[in-house]
Symmetry: C2
Subunit: 248 residues, 2 copies
């Protein structure tokens, strides 16, 4: 059972301004919901089919779960094909990594706008062991339901901050490798694999912005096949190929 005010509340969380106001978001699907429950203490409430609640009774607290039927789920879901579970979580307070002491690769996203791209980037970063992502202020909100969905649970394991990228990079330690994915950099197959540093990925439409570009001291490129006329790669695809190459 789910009452009308709750339906209204969950639907409000589809919009960024209400997520900010309530400091909550929701996730859908077993993988996403369980990864948040198992990796964080952010759970607020669970709405799920009876069978789901029974199946995962060890993972969830009884008083937090509400049984809903398909008709009720259809009223709250953000998916075309609703899953059997939707859960509300508190938005965590992520800590912006210090730019003066970096022991691993930090992924930096300069105005990624497409929710599917951001979600896929987070999922891929998790696969390759990245722990920190820094997004520009105009990037899509990571708690947008489409982003959460595309992360397939990986969102629960990463630290994701939003800040002014120029400010952050301006404070970076001298000598830090700042890699930028460009069309005219060094072939990523030829570079030395970095143990730490920053990898900057530009926006879908405009690439890395000019204010950020001058911080890049290691321009890198994914070589195109000689017989290809393709103009560019999708931002999440470029991120994946570079992170794989760093991970070799």
């Amino acid at each position: 059972m789910i009452n009308k005010p709750k339906i209204k509340f969950i639907n409000s969380l589809k919009m960024g301004k209400y997520r900010k106001q309530h400091k909550m978001f929701f996730a859908e699907g077993s993988i996403n919901v369980l990864d948040f429950i198992r990796n964080t203490d952010l759970i607020v409430e669970i709405f799920a089919a009876k069978e789901w609640i029974e199946k995962y009774s060890e993972d969830i607290e009884d008083e937090l779960s509400h049984e809903v039927n398909e008709k009720e789920m259809a009223k709250i879901t953000a998916l075309k094909n609703p899953s059997e579970v939707l859960a509300i979580f508190r938005i965590p307070e992520y800590k912006l990594p210090s730019s003066s002491n970096i022991g691993s690769i930090i992924l930096m996203l300069d105005d990624i706008k497409d929710p599917g791209n951001l979600g896929t980037i987070i999922r891929t970063a998790d696969w390759f062991g990245i722990k920190n992502i820094i997004c520009s202020r105009h990037s899509v909100d990571v708690f947008n339901p489409k982003v959460v969905q595309a992360t397939m649970g990986s969102l629960a394991r990463l630290n994701i901050s939003y800040c002014d990228l120029s400010d952050w990079l301006g404070n970076a330690k001298e000598g830090l490798g700042i890699y930028g994915a460009l069309l005219n950099g060094e072939n990523i197959n030829k570079i030395e694999k970095p143990k730490n540093g920053v990898l900057i990925i530009g926006s879908e439409a405009h690439g890395i912005s000019s204010e950020i570009l001058h911080f890049v001291n290691k321009p890198i490129t994914i070589r195109r096949s000689e017989n290809s006329q393709a103009e560019s790669l999708n931002a999440s695809i470029a991120t994946a190929i570079i992170l794989h190459s760093f991970n070799d």
Copy 2:
């Protein structure tokens, strides 16, 4: 100007059954439309803003273009943010590549269902010089507007066929390398780069189906970072990393 029957006709092309019936599809945005006009002879009609028609007057025939305003474009577009051009094309008759004589890498997709994934895979394949993609019959239709959009023009340069994958693979020449992206294959960083063969990518939900799996004679894997708990990679991401690795 665009009349009501034409608006209805274009909207019908958003559905697979009408695309099949009329043997037509539409593309939107300058890159997609121009790549089809410049690479194929499939153009039927163009609907565009006055400025667009003037700018690309050398590429397009006057009698095929119709000036439309933003209000009219909103009635025919499949995009949230309509572009300045939408064009109707004939669906080409792609030729299924022979499985007995393969001189390059053929990409084979086993039930890719998400239009964004298929579009991104086509765009990425084009970047890495792939010329042929073979999809299982239950894969999403390549002329679905969301697929066309995500290809960013690359669809105009590839040969994409649908067939029964088992039949095709059953006729493949003995000794042909049939690579399958799996979770427990050989590390793609360690294998010899193939000059020809088939790369099979499984569906988002189920991976490579059991009927197809037994044809795989080169199981390959994208190594996950040791400290990662991520369960899988998105299908288009896996395709990209493997094609990049083959292209090294």
